[in-house]
Symmetry: C2
Subunit: 196 residues, 2 copies
């Protein structure tokens, strides 16, 4: 017996990832209880984002311009390959990386019927030639699919003579050996380095 | 180095209750990745809800009409008093209640500087006279503030000769005694009933 307008708003919030009915209801009520200006600002931001945001012609990341800010201003000879746009945001936080990115929009995943042609690998190959890339850093997640995708791309790039590296896997900084899982520990041991 | 339009959308999602940066980002990306029609439907629903939804003149609940559907169609002689609109939704699920509601929009809470005048008690008194209410069911939450508010209103209504009841407190149906807290158990014991 809920009013249809409220129900419609709740349904829209439910369409967001991981949002159930109760959470959607809470969001909807917060809009209704909030002031009018906030609601119209919110609605405008949704429309504007969808209208203005497209994909960068170079790296494939989200952008409101033909070529994103990062690709416009950074050294394009070093390319860091990631799975998703949010990985770019994570890596940008370290602030010391001055290269560019390449967003695959997924990883190779036979279980989910995703092959090499379903992610942006071809675009990467084109870039490597066009921009005369020196190094490709594989920064896909350190899980089965991320590793497999990194391996696949590394093999593909070998004939092109470009240097391919993989981000290091090991114990997190500040963490405790006691709580690390055995796979991480094994990897950390295997990838041990000389101390100078 | 994130595009401003995306950042703006993330900030808007962050204004929702309990949403942090990562969640807001996830929501924003789901909008950007989704199709255009969904985004405009979403934006429209937010605007429409804020524009059309007001308060029911009788019970105070959210509605898109001057008087809400429940108050329009139900027996107004029984009034169930609740703290918030979402409590109405919870109670409506039982489907057997044929009375109306009264939404207080809060409870008396000295710690949060909320006195009896800050919630919709006056409106309840007016209704009781106008609609010749027979019974007022206090359905505020069974916590300190909900109980205090129920007591306060019950005292206030006593001189008016209206029957005031409180929803039963006890062990949840289908739950296990072992896991019930001691306050609930004490209440369940205290409120024991004859078995016929």
């Amino acid at each position: 017996m809920q009013e249809d307008v409220i129900e419609k708003l709740i349904e829209n919030f439910r369409s967001l990832p991981g949002v159930g009915y109760k959470t959607a209801q809470r969001y909807a009520f917060s809009i209704i209880e909030g002031d009018k200006e906030r609601a119209s600002r919110f609605a405008e931001a949704i429309k504007e984002a969808k209208e203005k945001i497209g994909f960068c012609q170079v790296c494939g990341n989200f952008t409101d311009q033909p070529i994103c800010k990062i690709c416009q201003t950074r050294d394009r000879k070093t390319v860091c390959v990631v799975k998703e746009p949010k990985d770019v945001i994570a890596l940008e936080k370290i602030k010391t990386y001055n290269g560019v990115y390449h967003v695959l929009f997924g990883t190779i995943s036979p279980l989910n019927h995703k092959g090499p042609d379903d992610i942006h690998i071809k675009e990467l190959l084109t870039r490597i030639e066009n921009d005369k890339v020196n190094e490709v850093i594989m920064a896909t997640n350190p899980d089965v699919e991320g590793d497999a995708t990194a391996m696949y791309i590394a093999k593909l790039l070998k004939p092109l003579g470009v240097k391919v590296t993989r981000i290091a896997q090991g114990i997190s900084i500040g963490s405790d050996l006691e709580y690390a899982d055995e796979y991480t520990l094994a990897k950390a041991l295997e990838s041990r380095r000389d101390m100078d």
